[in-house]
Amino acid sequence: MSGILVIAEQRRGELRPVSLELVGAAQSLRRDGEQVAVAVFAQDPARFVPDLSVAGVDAIVTVKVPQPEFDPDTFVAAVGALIEARHPDVVLVAHSVDSFGYAAALAAARGYGFATDVFKVERIDGELVATRGGYGQKVSVELDFPGRSTVLLALRGNMYKPPDGAATPEVTAFETPATASRATGKEFVELSAADDVDMTAAEFILTVGRGIGEEAKIPQFRELADAVGATLGCSRPIADAGWLPKSRQVGQSGKTASACKLYIAMGVSGAIQHLAGMKHVNTIVAVNSDAEASIFTVATYGIVGDVFEIAEELRRHF
C-alpha cells in the first residue's frame, strides 16, 4: 500500500484543531490517485468521525486504545502497528507536546525517515522534501530522506489551512496488539492563576521579553501597560525566571491569548513557540534592538530600537 497517513490528535475528548491542518497539508502533497487516511486513537475513537469527515479525507481509521489520554508506550506501539499494516509513504503528525513523546522513539526504532517542526512539505522532482528552521530559525533547511520508504514528519501548527467542506470517508477500525504501558496518566491540572489575570480574554496585550534585562524593570512596564490600557504579559524566559507569574506567559505553552487583537512585544526575540502562539493576532507590533530578531518575521509593524527609550517616549502619550 502507499498513500498519506495523518495521525489526528485529541485531548480530553476534543479533536485538536491542528489535526485538520494536517489534512490540509496532506491534500497539498497528495498525488493523483493517492489515498489520504486519518487515524484517531482514543478510548472511543468513533466519536471523532464526524469532525474528521472533511474534504480531502478518503478514509478514517479508528483505533481503540486503553488509556483515555496520550500515552507514550501506547502510541509507539499502536501508531507503529498501523504504519506497518498500511505502509504509507508519508505519515503526518503535529509538532506538539504529545508527538514529542513518541514520534522520535517510533521513527528511531523502525528506521522511518524523520523530521520535526516542519513548516513546508512538498515533492521536488518526485522526492519528498521537508523544510524546517535551523539555528534559532535564522536559516531554513531543506531535508530529504534517501532510501526511506516511509517518512514520518511532525508539522508545525498554523502553517496549513484546514480543508473546506465535508466528505464521507470510508471508516474502518484497526485492532492494536495489547501493550502494557509503563506509564499511567492521571489528572489534568490547569495552570493556576497566581494573580487574577485572564490572558485568554485580553484583547490588548503588552508583553515583555528577555530584552528588558532585569527583574527591576518589570514595574516600569507594568505601569506602562496600565497607562495604555493593555494587559501585561511575558515570554517564557521571564516566567521561567519568576519575574512574572506563569499565568501571564503567552505563546504556545503559555495561556492561549485567543481574544488578543493588538499585541505589543517589547524585547521579545520570538522563540518559535512564542510566535506560533501569537500568529493569529491581527496587529503585532514588535520593539526590539536586534533588527534580526525572529519576531519581526511575524510582526505587522516593527520598531528597531531601545525598548526603554521607546517605552519612555510612549508613556508620554498616555
Binding site: 496520550f70 506538539s96 522520535a104 534559532g136 536559516v139 531543506e142 531535508l143 506509564a183 519581526f296
Partner: protein, 266 residues
C-alpha cells in the same frame, strides 16, 4: 543510583553569518557556542535529586562533540556533575538527532543509569527528538516536556507533570529506569561559584570513541541519520513594516496604533 544527563553544545549565529560553500550548513567561523539552555535545567534537576537524596547519587554529564565541547562539560562539572563524558569520532559529523541518539543509547548501555535526562529541545536546531529517540532505541519508558518532577532515588516510579499547550499540565507516573526530557523553568539553575569552576577545570573529562561503544561508523553521521540536509539557505526577511525615525517619532506612531485600536481619535 545514577542519573545520566545528555547535554549539547549549541551554536548561535554571528550577525553577518554566511552559508558554507557546500550550501548545506553555516560556515563554522560564524558559530558562537554555548551549553543548551534546556540542558542547564536538566542538569540542575539531576543535581537537586542528588542533593536531596539520603543515598549516594552519581550525576554524569555526557555530550557528543569535538574537543571544544569540553567547555560545556566543564560548566556541568562546575554546576554539580560528578563526571563528564565526551564522545567523538570524525564519522559523527553530519549526524541528525537520531544518529546522536544511537550514541547516547550506547552510552546508556555502558553507564547503566537509572534515569536519563535530556533537554526538551536544543535552542539551535530544535528537533525535540534526541532524548525520546534514545528511549525508542533502548526500549525504555519515556516522557517528554517534564515539569514538577518528584522522584526519590530507589523508588520504582517517578511522578511528574507534562507541560501541554495552552497552560495545561498532565500528571503522569512512570516506571524507572526511564528517559525524561526536561522542560525549561522546572527549577532555577544555579550559577557556578568561582571555586567550583576552578575545581571543574582540574577534573578529567573521559573521552570515548565509537569502538568504546561498540558502534560502527555507519551507525552515525549521515549513514546513521533518518534525514539528509539537501540545502540550507537564508530565508527572505520578515514582512514587518518598519516604523522608522527617532525614538520619539517611533513612539508617536505606536501611540497612534494603540489609539486607533481603542477607537480614540489621535
Amino acid at each position: 543510583m545514577k542519573i545520566l544527563v545528555a547535554v549539547k553544545q549549541v551554536a548561535a549565529l554571528d550577525e553577518d553569518f554566511e552559508i558554507s560553500s557546500d550550501g548545506r550548513d553555516v560556515d563554522p567561523d560564524f558559530l558562537i557556542r554555548d551549553l543548551n539552555e534546556w540542558d542547564d535545567f536538566s542538569l540542575e534537576e539531576a543535581v537537586k535529586i542528588k542533593e536531596a537524596s539520603g543515598e549516594p547519587v552519581e550525576v554524569v554529564a555526557a555530550s557528543v562533540g569535538p574537543e571544544e565541547v569540553d567547555e560545556s562539560l566543564r560548566k556541568c562539572l562546575a554546576k554539580g556533575a560528578d563526571r563528564a563524558l565526551r564522545i567523538w569520532d570524525d564519522a559523527v559529523r553530519g549526524s541528525d538527532p537520531i544518529a546522536i541518539a544511537r550514541i547516547l543509547a550506547a552510552v546508556v548501555k555502558r553507564e547503566k543509569p537509572d534515569l536519563l535526562f535530556a533537554g526538551v529541545q536544543s535552542s539551535d536546531q530544535a528537533f525535540a527528538s534526541t532524548g525520546i529517540a534514545t528511549a525508542g532505541l533502548l526500549g525504555w519508558p519515556h516522557a517528554a516536556v517534564v515539569a514538577n518532577l518528584r522522584y526519590t532515588p530507589g523508588a520504582k516510579t517517578a511522578v511528574f507533570r507534562r507541560e501541554l499547550e495552552g497552560g495545561l499540565l498532565h500528571e503522569v507516573e512512570i516506571d524507572v529506569p526511564a528517559v525524561l526530557t526536561i522542560q525549561a523553568g522546572i527549577n532555577t539553575p544555579r550559577y557556578a561559584s568561582l571555586r567550583s569552576i576552578k575545581q571543574a577545570a582540574a577534573k578529567p573529562i573521559e573521552v570515548l570513541g565509537l569502538a568504546d561503544l561498540q558502534l560502527g561508523s555507519d551507525a552515525v553521521g549521515e549513514a546513521g541519520s533518518l534525514s539528509h540536509v539537501r540545502r540550507m539557505y537564508i530565508p527572505e526577511k520578515g514582512r514587518a513594516q518598519l516604523i522608522e525615525g527617532s525614538p520619539a517619532e517611533q513612539a508617536l506612531k505606536l501611540a497612534a496604533i494603540i489609539r486607533e485600536f481603542k477607537g480614540e481619535a489621535a
